[in-house]
Amino acid sequence: MLRLAPPATLLIFLAPIVAGLLGTALPAFGWFPALGGHEFGFAVFARLFAQPGLGTSVALTLFTGFLATALSLTLALAFCAAAYGTRGFATAQRFLAPLLATPHAALAIGFAFLVAPSGWIARLISPELSGWTRPPDIATIQDPLGLAFVAGLMLKETPYLLLCLVAAIGQADLARSLATARMLGYGKFTAWAKIAIPRLYPQIRLPVYAVLAFALSNVDVALILVPTNPPSLSVLIVRWISDPHLDLFLPATAAGLLLFALVVVSIGVWRLGEIAIAHLARDWLTNGERGSRGAIRNSTARAMLALLFGLAIAALIALAVWSFTLSWRFPDALPDRWTNANWLREAPSLAAPATTTLFVALCATAIAILLSVLCLENEIRTGKRATKALALLYAPLLIPQVSFLIGAQTLLVRLNLDGGFVALVWAHLLFVLPYVFLALADPWRALDPRYARIAACLGASPLRVFFAVKIPLLLRPLMVAAAIGFAVSAALYLPTLFAGSGRWTSLTTEAVTLASGGDRRVLGVYAFTQAALPLIVYAMALALPAFLYRNRKGMA
């Protein structure tokens, strides 16, 4: 039975994605009987390319996607180079988990609360420093270049890449290599660049591609921060799909394929860039230049990361402040009247989306944990690592969500499953499973196999070994994986929208919908709840093993 776990997992997982992509591709190439399409051809694409503003949307998508990925990666690498081995590095690590547990949309909304023309930053510097007595007429969010969107993406993607780097550092025996380079006279930063990056980059390559794909195709952060007319391609597609007239449905499917193609080509271009840089750097690696001590560079990298983390934390505080605001005149630094009325008023309507968020996240996480554990146990018992096949788990992170969700939705309608709880959980599982599996795989494989062997030799049956030895020993990574899965699910926007067919609202869909409206006090309540829920779950997940094993130092 256990043997079937990896293929079954991949089937649950990949079949719907492939079917979804096909479901998008068929109408895009003219086959959509429901709307009278019976002939294959490029007519739909012709209609797509005739849409005004499409070129601008594509350019905006590519510009913001590459810029956000390049800046996040550069900052994460530069910070490691500047701070590895210092107390600052350890401090930054402590912030990673809570930042990663916070949904993108909540951070983006809080970020908008900070940097909007009438945002907190403008209020703090007005009127004394800026001279503004009313919000300035500058597009600080939804700016035409999409820079606010880039910054909003960086708030989450930099910590994510940093986390991947920390994991990669743990696997490579870097400390001694770096010490050797330092003894040979290399500056800290240069030693890192010449010794660590070439060894770490291959290990974070897939996460970097995932970041690139996410930045190119994200919808929820984009809805809050990209310019409205024309928006990025992904937002354009969602707008067309949700248009009550079906005119734009077919061009939307073609745009979904275009976005898919853009992501594939972009990853290819990025790969070529990697090869080019590796080629250009070959001589530089061994040219003997030790680099100066680079104090300015080091402190810049550390200051930039501190700024980024500071912005993220300030964004969450801004959400909380607004949720307790009764009135807050423009140039004032703080609300002049506070209230809990926003919370009391919104509590009844918060209950339904909060419950949906909670149950979908719990179900998807539980299934993801079960499948991951079965796959990992199978791997250990058969001694065969299905690494290559399971790399396919990354697929949902590399394929634009909207590209296969359009097709998947029409498929669900056909199967009469759309809007059902099962479809919703399945759609969440697609994104929860890869993160849960990745979080569990290393600790599971790293567990000393002799514990299980000695338990068997003491007469414990395989089931007893599993439940009385392995599960307790791996309780902490299991809980961490569950918390990550929960946070991923709670943050999902598009899958909830599509698989839920608008019948289910989660905290994320509500917050993103409200973000286009005006009332920051209501939005503050929703976005803060959206951010708080995964953080509370995260804290509980860490507290349980800490409490159970409070007298077991060996479990720390």
């Binding site: 058969t382 001694g383 000393d448 002799r450 514990y451 062997r453 000695i454 338990a455 068997a456 030799c457 003491l458 007469g459 414990a460 049956s461 395989p462 070994v465 009385a468 030895v469 307790p472 020993l473 309780l475 094993y549 007298n551 077991r552 130092k553 060996g554 479990m555």
Partner: protein
């Protein structure tokens, strides 16, 4: 016939012969030491006898314990105990929890058995302790007691003293072999320390 016996055991890994063919008979109470350099397949032989041999290995030959063929018998049904160089006490259980884990489920008076084992290990009153708070020697004694509480019909030792401090090693050897002789079960040890073999005092097989 009682005791542990194996015939023509050969271990292959990746198509190459690692060990064997090897045949041995261990009467109850006998201690046999196998000596050989690392990588000679000593530990794999023990894993073969336990039934926990990694699938990367191919084994031929047969093993018998107290007259029953062990081929195809699950590790937990073999009743062969093993001690490694690490004590491998379960870090999530207390000292008493580790000992109780090994006692067969149907045994009456589990607590009495645990207390008796603690007393034998000169660790009265240590039951509730976290294993990490014990010294290396104390942990090694608990580990042996845990193995013996499972009522093994044979015991295997995989370089059991190599990680202990030099001054502790002598005492621990005495303790281990005294307890094993008391149980009158066959004991197979693999090591590359001559002093281990001397302390065991039995037949020595050199690979």
């Amino acid at each position: 016939m009682s005791g542990l016996a194996f015939r023509d055991v050969t271990l292959h890994v990746a198509g190459k012969k690692l060990l064997g063919p090897l045949s041995l008979d261990l009467a109850p109470g006998a201690v046999v030491t196998i000596m050989g350099p690392s990588g000679s397949g000593k530990s794999s032989l023990l894993a073969y006898l336990c039934g926990t041999l990694d699938r990367a290995f191919a084994a031929t030959g047969s093993a018998m314990l107290d007259g029953t063929d062990l081929t195809g018998v699950a590790p937990e049904k073999r009743r062969i105990g093993i001690l490694f160089q690490d004590d491998l006490l379960f870090p999530h259980l207390s000292v008493a929890g580790n000992l109780a884990f090994a006692i067969p489920a149907n045994a009456p008076d589990r607590k009495v058995l645990v207390d008796a084992a603690l007393a034998e290990a000169e660790l009265d009153g240590y039951g509730a302790r976290d294993p990490t708070t014990l010294s290396g020697g104390q942990r090694a004694r608990v580990s042996l007691m845990r193995a013996l509480l499972a009522e093994p019909r044979a015991i295997l030792l995989d370089e059991p003293f190599s990680k202990l401090d030099a001054d502790l090693r002598g005492k621990m050897r005495e303790f281990v072999f005294a307890h094993i002789r008391m149980r009158k079960i066959p004991c197979l040890m693999v090591t590359h320390d001559e002093a281990d073999a001397a302390a065991a005092g039995g037949y020595i097989l050199r690979l």
